[in-house]
C-alpha cells in the first residue's frame, strides 16, 4: 500500500468513528417522564429538557444560608411540573425569560440541573 492510501484509510476510519460516536454520545431532548425512565438505566447521562418556568411558585435562594443552592419549579412541554435544584448561584434575570433549557439528571422527586440555558437578557427583544 502506498502511504497516501494508508492516510486516506485512516482518515475514513476516523471519520466513521466520529459518526458512530456521534450517535452514541449525543444526549437527547426529553420530557421529565422520559428523564425518569432514562435515569433508571443510565443515571449519569446528561439530559436536556425544554421547560417553562412556573412563575407562580416561589423559588428559593437564601445566599446567607447557602449561596450555592437555588431551587425553583418548571414544567416541561407536556405540562408536567417538577422541582428543579440548581446547586449554584441563582442565575441573573431568570424572571425575564419564560423558556429555559435544563441540562442535568432526574433525581426522582426533583430534577438536578447542572446547566440552565437561557437567552441573553432581552438583547434583541422587540420594544
Amino acid at each position: 500500500m502506498k502511504p497516501v492510501q494508508i492516510v486516506i484509510l485512516v482518515f475514513v476510519s476516523v471519520a466513521i468513528a466520529i459518526g458512530i460516536s456521534f450517535y452514541g454520545d449525543t444526549s437527547k431532548y426529553v420530557c421529565f417522564q422520559e428523564a425518569d425512565e432514562i435515569a433508571k438505566s443510565r443515571p449519569n447521562l446528561k439530559l436536556h429538557v425544554v421547560t417553562t418556568l412556573s412563575k407562580d411558585k416561589p423559588s428559593v435562594y437564601n445566599p446567607q444560608v447557602d449561596p450555592n443552592y437555588f431551587e425553583f419549579y418548571a414544567s416541561d412541554t407536556t405540562g408536567l411540573e417538577r422541582r428543579i435544584v440548581y446547586r449554584n448561584a441563582m442565575p441573573q434575570d431568570l424572571d425575564k425569560t419564560d423558556k429555559v433549557v435544563l441540562i442535568g439528571y432526574s433525581r426522582g422527586d426533583y430534577f438536578e440541573a447542572k446547566d440552565i440555558l437561557k437567552k441573553c437578557p432581552s438583547k434583541y427583544e422587540k420594544p
Binding site: I18, Q64, V65, P67, N68, M90, Q92, L117, Y124, P127
Partner: protein, 872 residues
C-alpha cells in the same frame, strides 16, 4: 383614512439612506451582468461598465453607512434602528457598536468589507478581474437584498435599517398619553432609545465584529478565484493568486475569532474564553476548512498534487461562511445556544443565498451553457421546493428526498471535477514535505468535520424531526485534543522535509535533535505545571516540539532569514497557544471555594432529608459580607469586600485581594471592581474584573448582591430586658450579638431633673463586625423613648428606664430592652478563578499573527512574480 402629519421627524436622512440601499443593489446587479458578459464577449466597454458600477456600488454602501451612523449619532429615535439599539448616553465609540447589535448592521458591515476588497481586486487582479468581480458583485446583490425591506404581498424581501419606529410597530402610537398631546407629537414622548446591551459596551466589542466580518468577507476571494478558474477553464492557474488571499482570510478570521474569545473572557461571566457554543463553532468551521485549503494550495504550488480536493475545500470554506450565517441568523439554533439573534424572517432568503452559490458553482463544472443551465435549474429549484414548500407527505420523507438530491448533486459535481483534472494516482513519497502536509491537512479536516457535524445537530433535528441535544464543552474538548496533538507535532516534522524527496539521514537528524531538546524542555514544563494526564502531557510535549522544531528550522535551514520564516513563526505561535490552552484550563483553579460550613445545606436537600446527590454540590460561590475578609487558596489570599460605588445604573463593588506569606503578612495586594448593572430595560448584567499578572490572571465576578434579595422585614422578637451599668457587657436573647453599654450622653438636663434627655451608646458585636446603636430616653412632662435599630445587625435596642440607687447616687443603672431579627447584611456573592499562564495563549496568538503577516507578504510577492512570468 386620516393622514397625520408628524412633527419633528427627520425623514430626509432615512429616505437618503434607503435610496443608497436601492442604488447599491441596482449598481451591483448591473456590475455583475456587465462583468459576466465581459467574461464571455471580451468587450472592453463591458468591463468599464462593470468597474464603474462597482465603484458606484461601493460609494452607495459607504453612504448607507454614513446615513445610519448619522441617525444614531443625532439620536433620531423616530428610526427603529436608533430606537432599538442606541440611547443618548452612549459615547461615540459605542455608537459604532450599535451597528452590529442588529442584523441589518451586521449585513451592512459584511457588504462594506466586500466592497473594499472588491475595489482592491479591481486594481490588483489583472486578467482575473471580470470573473472574480462577477462573484463579488453577485454576493453584494444578495446581501444588498437583505437590506431592501420591500414587501410584495406576504413575501418580505430583506429588512431595512431605515424603517421608522412607527411603521415597524404601529401600536406605539396607541399609547394613552398620545391622546392628550396628539399622535403627531409622539416624538415628545419617545426621546430615549432602548440603549446598547451593556455586555457589548466593551472596547473589544468595538473592534471584534469588524475584524470577524472582515475575515468573513475575505473568504470570498479564494472562492472567487476558484470559481473563476472553473469558469474560464484555468483549472490550476487560479491557485496562484488565491493563495496569498487565503492566508489573509485565515489570519483575519482567526484574529477575529480570538478577539471574540478575549472579549468573552474580559466581559462575560462564564469564566473562560471558549465554550464550544454553536455560535462560536460557526466561526471556527470555515476557519478550519480554509486553513486546510491553504495548506493544500501550498502543496499544489510546489507539486501540483490534489487539485480536486484543493478546489473543493476552497469553495467549501466559503459555503461554510454562508452556512454559519444561516445557523446563527435564522434562529434554528433555538434551544442549543445561549446567544440569541433575532430572526427577521430572513431564513428563507438565507437558504436561497446559500444554495444559489452552491448550485452556481456546481453548474459551472459542466462544459456547455445548456448543461449548466439544466443542472442549475434542476438542482437549485428542487432543493428550494423541498425546503420551502410543505408537501402532503411526512416531513421526514420530504427532508430525506432533499438530502438525497443534494448528495447526488455533490457526487455529480465531484465526478465532473475529476473529469476536468484527470484522475491521477497520487504517488507521494514518505520522505517528502507534501506527504506530511497532506497528513496534517487531513487531521485539520477531521477536526473541522467533527465540529461541523456536532454543530449541525439542530439542523438534523429540524430535517428529520429528531430530538438530539447538542454536545457540551467536555465532549468537544475530549475529542478535539486528539486532533490537536498530531497537528502541533506535524507543524514541526513537516518543516524538515523538502518537497518531492529528502535525504533520509538529514531528516532524521533534524527531527531527533529538535525532539530531544523539546522533550527536555517539556519535562521541565510538566514539573512546573504539574500536569501528568496522558493527553495533556502529549499536547504540552507536542506544543514544545512545535516551538523548538520551528525555531531550529529558522536557525538551521532558513539561516535566520525572518522574511521567509512566516510559516515557521506562525506554527511556533500555534504550539505556544496550545500549551496556553492546556495549562490555563487544566490548572484553572476556583479560588472562592466555599467551605465555611455556616448553616450550610451540605448533604441535605431543602426538605431536610439526607441526599447523596448533594455531595456533588458546587461550592464555587462565596458570600463576602462588607468589611469581613475571607481567606482563599489555603489561607494565602485574603479577599475583602471594602465598598460599593454607585454610578447609576452601575454598581462597582470593590474587592481587595491581599496575598499573604506564611506569617500572615501582606506580600502583594490589588483591588478589583467587578460591577453589576441593573439596566431598567435589559435587566441585571454582571461584568467581571480581572487582575493580570505575567504568569496568571485572577478573574472575579459577582453572582449576587444583597440588594437583589427580596428582603422581608420581619417583626423583632426575642425580647430581653437587662439592667446594666456603664461598661457592662450583656447579650441578646439568642446570644449571637454581644452588647456593651459604652456610655450615656446627657443631651439636656434641667437642675431638678424634671427635664431629661439622654442618649445611650451601645456597641453591638456580631460575628466579626461592630456597630453602634444610640437609643434615646426623654423625660419631659411625660416619658418618651426613641428606639434604635441597626439593620445590618438585626438588633433593636430601647432604653426603658433609669434606676438611680438611692444609696449610691453616682451609680446609675439603665434598663435596656433588646430584640433581634434576621439581619439585613450588605454582602456580595462572589466567584473568583485563577487562570495560570493564560498569557501563553495570548502571546502565542500574537506570535502566530506575526508569522501570518510575514507569510502573506512573502506569498504576495511570489504570486506577483509568478503572474508576471506567466504573462511573459
Amino acid at each position: 383614512m386620516e393622514t397625520i402629519i408628524f412633527n419633528n421627524e427627520h425623514l430626509f436622512i432615512g429616505n437618503f439612506g434607503h435610496f443608497s440601499v436601492v442604488l447599491a443593489f441596482v449598481a451591483s446587479i448591473i456590475s455583475a451582468i456587465a462583468y459576466s458578459l465581459h467574461v464571455k464577449f471580451k468587450n472592453e466597454s463591458l468591463r468599464q461598465l462593470g468597474r464603474i458600477m462597482f465603484f458606484l456600488h461601493g460609494i452607495a454602501v459607504v453612504l448607507i453607512f454614513i446615513s445610519l451612523f448619522y441617525i444614531i449619532h443625532s439620536h433620531y429615535f423616530e428610526y427603529q434602528y436608533a430606537y432599538q439599539h442606541s440611547s443618548t448616553d452612549l459615547p461615540v465609540y459605542y455608537m459604532i457598536s450599535c451597528f452590529w447589535e442588529g442584523q441589518e448592521g451586521s449585513f451592512l458591515l459584511w457588504m462594506f468589507w466586500h466592497a473594499v476588497l472588491g475595489v482592491i481586486l479591481i486594481f490588483k487582479s489583472k486578467d482575473w478581474e471580470s470573473p472574480v468581480l462577477t462573484v463579488v458583485a453577485v454576493a453584494q446583490l444578495i446581501l444588498g437584498s437583505m437590506l431592501l425591506g420591500f414587501e410584495i404581498g406576504d413575501v418580505k424581501i430583506g429588512s431595512s435599517p431605515f424603517i421608522l419606529a412607527r411603521d415597524y410597530n404601529p401600536e406605539m402610537l396607541l399609547i394613552p398619553v398620545l391622546e392628550k398631546i396628539g399622535k403627531s407629537n409622539y416624538l415628545q414622548i419617545f426621546k430615549e432609545g432602548n440603549g446598547l446591551n451593556p455586555l457589548l459596551q466593551n472596547y473589544w466589542m468595538v473592534i471584534h465584529p469588524p475584524t470577524l466580518f472582515f475575515g468573513f468577507a475575505a473568504t470570498i476571494i479564494p472562492f472567487a478565484f476558484a470559481f473563476a478558474g472553473l469558469w474560464t477553464n484555468r483549472l490550476k492557474e487560479w491557485m496562484i493568486p488565491a493563495l496569498p488571499w487565503a492566508l489573509v482570510a485565515v489570519m483575519i478570521l482567526g484574529l477575529g475569532i480570538i478577539m471574540g474569545g478575549y472579549w468573552a473572557y474580559e466581559s462575560l461571566s462564564f469564566g473562560g474564553y471558549w465554550a464550544w457554543d454553536p455560535v462560536e463553532n460557526a466561526s471556527l468551521m470555515p476557519w478550519l476548512l480554509l486553513i486546510t485549503a491553504t495548506h493544500l494550495l501550498l502543496i499544489n504550488k510546489s507539486t501540483g498534487k490534489y487539485p480536486v480536493l484543493t478546489f473543493i475545500l476552497t469553495i467549501a470554506s466559503f459555503f461554510m461562511i454562508l452556512y454559519a450565517t444561516f445557523l446563527t441568523r435564522s434562529g434554528i439554533l433555538g434551544n442549543a445556544s445561549v446567544h440569541s439573534f433575532t430572526d427577521l424572517g430572513l431564513s428563507g432568503q438565507l437558504i436561497i443565498l446559500l444554495f444559489s452559490f452552491i448550485f452556481l458553482t456546481f453548474a459551472l463544472s459542466f462544459k456547455t451553457f445548456k448543461n449548466r443551465l439544466i443542472f442549475f435549474l434542476l438542482g437549485f429549484l428542487s432543493i428550494l421546493l423541498i425546503s420551502v414548500i410543505d408537501f402532503p407527505i411526512s416531513a421526514r420523507i420530504q427532508s430525506s428526498i432533499g438530502v438525497v438530491v443534494f448528495l447526488v448533486s455533490i457526487i455529480w459535481f465531484v465526478r465532473n471535477l475529476f473529469k476536468h483534472y484527470g484522475t491521477q494516482i497520487e504517488t507521494d513519497k514518505l520522505y517528502s514535505r507534501e506527504f506530511w502536509m497532506f497528513v496534517g491537512s487531513m487531521v485539520l479536516l477531521l477536526s473541522g468535520l467533527q465540529i461541523i457535524t456536532m454543530t449541525s445537530i439542530p439542523v438534523f433535528n429540524k430535517l428529520f424531526n429528531t430530538s438530539m441535544a447538542s454536545a457540551g464543552e467536555d465532549y468537544y474538548n475530549s475529542v478535539q485534543i486528539w486532533f490537536a496533538i498530531p497537528i502541533v507535532v506535524l507543524t514541526a516534522v513537516g518543516q524538515f522535509f523538502k518537497y518531492k524527496d529528502t535525504d533520509k539521514k538529514r531528516v532524521w537528524e533534524f527531527i531527533a535533535n529538535s525532539l530531544l531538546i523539546a522533550i527536555v524542555i517539556a519535562i521541565g514544563a510538566l514539573f512546573l505545571f504539574n500536569i501528568w494526564k496522558l493527553q495533556y502531557l502529549l499536547l504540552i510535549i507536542g506544543g514544545t516540539y512545535a516551538i523548538v522544531g520551528n525555531t531550529h528550522y529558522i536557525h538551521k535551514v532558513l539561516k535566520g532569514k525572518i522574511k521567509l520564516a512566516g510559516a515557521a513563526i506562525a506554527h511556533a505561535g500555534f504550539g505556544l497557544m496550545m500549551i496556553g490552552v492546556v495549562v490555563s484550563s487544566v490548572n484553572k483553579k476556583v479560588l472562592s471555594v466555599n467551605n465555611t460550613g455556616v448553616g450550610y445545606f451540605s448533604e441535605t436537600s431543602a426538605d431536610g432529608k439526607q441526599d447523596d446527590n448533594a455531595k456533588t454540590n458546587n461550592r464555587e460561590n462565596v458570600l463576602l459580607a462588607k468589611g469581613r475578609p475571607i481567606l482563599f487558596a489555603n489561607n494565602t489570599l485574603k479577599a475583602t469586600y471594602t465598598k460599593v460605588e454607585e454610578i447609576a445604573p452601575n454598581k462597582y463593588f470593590e474587592v481587595k485581594y491581599q496575598y499573604l506569606d506564611k506569617d500572615g503578612k501582606v506580600k502583594d495586594e490589588f483591588t478589583l471592581k467587578p460591577n453589576v448593572q441593573n439596566n431598567p430595560k435589559m435587566g441585571v448584567v454582571v461584568n467581571p474584573d480581572t487582575k493580570h499578572y505575567l504568569t496568571k490572571d485572577i478573574f472575579t465576578h459577582i453572582t449576587f448582591e444583597s440588594s437583589m434579595e427580596d428582603f422581608e422585614e420581619k417583626e423583632f422578637d426575642n425580647f430581653k430586658t437587662d439592667t446594666v451599668s456603664i461598661g457592662q457587657i450583656f447579650s441578646t436573647e439568642d446570644a449571637n450579638r454581644e452588647l456593651t453599654l459604652r456610655k450615656v450622653n446627657i443631651i439636656e438636663a434641667s437642675d431638678d431633673l424634671k427635664k431629661l434627655h439622654l442618649q445611650a451608646e451601645i456597641i453591638i458585636n456580631t460575628i466579626g463586625d461592630t456597630f453602634i446603636a444610640k437609643p434615646e430616653f426623654i423625660s419631659d412632662n411625660q416619658i418618651r423613648i426613641k428606639e434604635a435599630i441597626v439593620q445590618e445587625a438585626g438588633v433593636l435596642v430601647i432604653m426603658d428606664r433609669i434606676i438611680s440607687d438611692p444609696n449610691n447616687p453616682n451609680e446609675m443603672k439603665f434598663v435596656i430592652t433588646s430584640a433581634t431579627r434576621r439581619p439585613k447584611m450588605d454582602y456580595i456573592i462572589l466567584k473568583a478563578i485563577e487562570f495560570p499562564y493564560i498569557n501563553l495563549l495570548w502571546g502565542g496568538t500574537v506570535i502566530m499573527i506575526f508569522g501570518f503577516i510575514l507569510a502573506i507578504i512573502q506569498r504576495f510577492k511570489e504570486s506577483k512574480r509568478r503572474l508576471k512570468s506567466s504573462e511573459d
